[in-house]
Amino acid sequence: MAETIDPGWAWAKYEPSEQHPWDMKKAGHLFRRAAFGANLVELHQAVKDGPGATITRLLAGQPASPQYAELMQGAGRANIGHARATWIVRMLDRHPVHEKLTLFWHNHFATSFAKVNSAGFMVSQYELMHRHAFGPFGPMLQEMSKDPAMMIWLDTILSTKGQPNENYARELMELFSLGIGNYSETDIREAAKAFTGWEIRNGKWSLNKPQNDPGPKTFFGKKGNWQGEDIVRMCLEHAACPRFIARKMFRAYVSDSIEPTKELIEPLAKAYRESGLNSGKLLETILRSNLFFASLTYRSKIKSPVEFALGIVRGLEIAVDATAIATVLQTLGQDLFAPPSVKGWDGGPAWLNGQTLLFRQNLALALCSRSGQYVCSPGNGKNDNAIIREPFDLLAKHGCKSTKDRVDLLLQIFLQGDVPTEMRDRLIDYANTKPNLPVMWPRDELARHPLRALCHLVLTLPEFQLC
């Protein structure tokens, strides 16, 4: 498959053509990948504006709500549960692309509260990644090496002169900058000496001179009195670094199934290196590219739990309890601030196994049912028709009258109508069949209930698992 992709074509800018028109499907694809999905209005707007303007708008985002930054600083630092919930709120706020990229970096520098055990340090690390998300990779990696959460997570704080701990040195090279095969075990042992005496004082990085090894180390074949900053710099200068990051971003934003061959990655890596490892530009090149909008890229990823859950929330236009969402994400396999290992989440098909699939389908049902634990009813029970709490309200807002309209609208929002005709027919058949609902139910409920079931069925379609 991959052999046939011309790298020149792949990374050139996508321009809509008769053969590859800009349409609802491509707009949905863009929102799923770059952000966390879209609602109907956003999709229509994107189709109208075209890919160029839409991507520009998405990358710029809108000014984030300042109260959420404060919430992260206050409640988030006090309690990891609040930090998780606040992050969910920010993902649903006005700059989802920024949060998605921060989540990419969280998966890259995969640090877990399970060991760090300080919500304050986890939030500081989140803010470090948030601050540098679109910027050059170098300063982010330098700061990350001195980040307290990271220093606890990979034992830098325990590494002392004569008795270096190799944990950070190894993962710096294997997982954060170069990838396996680009360094030796000796490089790891030598680099570890350079990080000795690094400790946390007053919540910040500090050098404990007596515990620091000032002597010569041979790293990548060069001898010098290297310190940790030198080691990080030499990793950043290594030819493997831009390739490694470009490949990782390819996996996150382009495809689980297209092989990121050397030929395909090289132009991306070259541009990345020439831009001074500017990650925002790398992302922009990917999002605007022919390959990103090509048919082999379309639906070639499995949604992560966050993408699955927030995609439903955005599409349904409901307000949710972010704490409950953050909690259910744990059972779906994506516990924010607690990735399973320093390698992060495996992603791709590993997201879906028997148990997590069932959890996903059951979560979809709960999100369709306003009585569930996830859906908030703003207005404290006030009967305000403008508030959407469940599929019935959404369909009413968009003026659906017939059964066919309703099925098509739900399919449009969640799958941009792209399902087999037979499946659509089955859904219409189902929606046309009167369920035997208890006669004592209030009339309102008799109208609302079948639409919950219908929306749930749309969300259980296999296509909806794909990103």
């Binding site: 034992d155 325990l158 075990e185 396999g333 399973p340 320093v342 390698k343 089955r426 189902y430």
Partner: protein, 410 residues
């Protein structure tokens, strides 16, 4: 590296032949009725110790003076060690397993590893899962074994755990399950007819033909397999009464669920569980502490599981096998922990294992970059399990050249 593997994982999942899990529809590979002593259909339970278990403080060469030198602060005092013979013994946290040894149900395979060991957690774990040191690893050894004989299998998962590479490549996707209660599809139905219509629609969606092998195909097959397994499992009695008290730990809970699934007579013969936390770079402790706590959890869970099944007449059907991606450095580091190493022991528990030690403890005077050398390739242990326990040709799964180790009683 990881990206390539993940890609290949995907492609290996594409295009497998069967659509319905074989064990659900057939009885050919089903177990003898539960409770029947000496049932011949053997069961394998793999227990993964994630993070690199410190083998040297698990199976300890206490008589070797170099042991104490290598471990100035985290050594286990001689008098606390559960002795296997005059020179080798178990960490005291493995008390339960020491009891199993008395009961002739524990086999300790020493010095297990592979050539040119990788000290990356992820690469080394992949090697153990795939039973291969090829650069690109796409399928697991159990997945490949299931191609030879499509036994039923379950991955009994902790909350935040994805399916292991070891199970990749199986003809029907091996389901992960965290609890029977959770393993069901909920519907908004109020009446039987509506519920049935919804269920039909959901199942039909998983059977819609796809134009080409793709991720969609993968999702559909996962879904189909899951819905079928789920239905079957709901018939399993929910109130399992173990015949042995299980500790209140994550691993024990997972093994208890495995025991329940075995007892239900579903015919599943392979179970996979994991316990994480063995990456003890710092403050790993000695007799007590982080590493001891982990060993306590492992020993308590496996011991309870084995005794529970033995009390149900399944003693001779079950084999539990532990492994970790590597052992740890012989000399402790400055943080009172240990860095990544290589050779380490594997523990086998079962009614039919050869009790005691197999192989020699790696010499502490002959280290390789400070690490213990292996003498037995882990694929030789896999070969014994495949050939002599599961009745699956190891040559077909692992390739030729892995001589089985003598770990079973004849």
């Amino acid at each position: 590296m990881s990206s390539r593997r993940d890609f290949l994982k995907t492609s290996s999942l594409i295009g497998f032949g069967l659509t319905v899990p074989t064990f659900l529809g057939r009885t050919a590979f089903a177990a003898e009725p539960a409770g029947k002593a000496g049932a011949k259909d053997t069961i394998l339970v793999v227990v993964q110790l994630t993070g690199g278990n410190d083998g040297l403080n698990t199976v300890i060469p206490f008589a070797d003076p170099d042991y104490a030198k290598q471990r100035p602060t985290i050594q286990i005092p001689k008098d606390q060690i559960r002795k296997i013979d005059d020179s080798i013994g178990l960490h005291p946290a493995l008390d339960g397993m020491a009891g199993l040894l008395q009961d002739r149900a524990l086999c300790v395979v020493q010095g297990v590893g592979y050539p040119n060991p990788s000290q990356s957690h992820f690469r080394s774990m992949d090697i153990w899962h795939a039973a291969s040191i090829k650069e690109q690893l796409t399928e697991g050894w159990i997945g490949n074994a299931l191609k030879q004989k499509p036994f039923g299998a379950f991955h009994v998962a902790a909350g935040n755990e994805s399916a292991p590479l070891a199970l990749n490549g199986a003809p029907a996707r091996v389901p992960s399950i965290t609890s029977i209660e959770d393993f069901q599809l909920r519907m908004s139905a109020t009446g039987g007819k509506d519920g049935k219509a919804q269920k039909n629609l959901i199942e039909n969606a998983a059977k819609m033909p796809t134009s080409q092998p793709s991720l969609l195909d993968f999702v559909q097959k996962t879904a189909l397999n899951t819905y079928a397994s789920s239905q079957r499992l709901q018939e399993v009695a929910k109130n399992y009464q173990p015949k042995e008290a299980y500790p209140q730990t994550g691993l024990a809970t997972r093994l208890k669920l495995a025991a329940q699934l075995i007892d239900a007579g579903l015919g599943a013969r392979i179970f996979y569980v994991s316990i994480d936390g063995f990456d003890t770079h710092a403050n790993q402790g000695g007799v007590a502490g982080a590493h001891a706590n982990l060993l306590t959890e492992v020993s308590g869970a496996i011991t309870a599981f084995f005794k529970d099944l033995a009390a149900r007449g399944q003693r001779d059907r079950v084999l539990v096998m532990t492994f970790s991606e590597f052992g740890r450095r012989a000399h402790e580091n400055g943080s009172k922990g240990t860095d990544h190493g290589s050779g380490a022991p594997m523990l086998l528990v079962g009614g039919k294992v050869k009790p005691g030690l197999v192989g020699k403890h790696p010499a502490l005077t002959n280290l390789e970059m400070g690490n213990l050398k292996h003498a037995i390739d882990f694929r030789q242990v896999y070969a014994s399990v495949l050939d002599q326990w599961l009745g699956i040709s190891s040559a077909k799964v692992l390739g030729e050249g892995f001589k089985p180790v003598d770990v079973f009683r004849s």
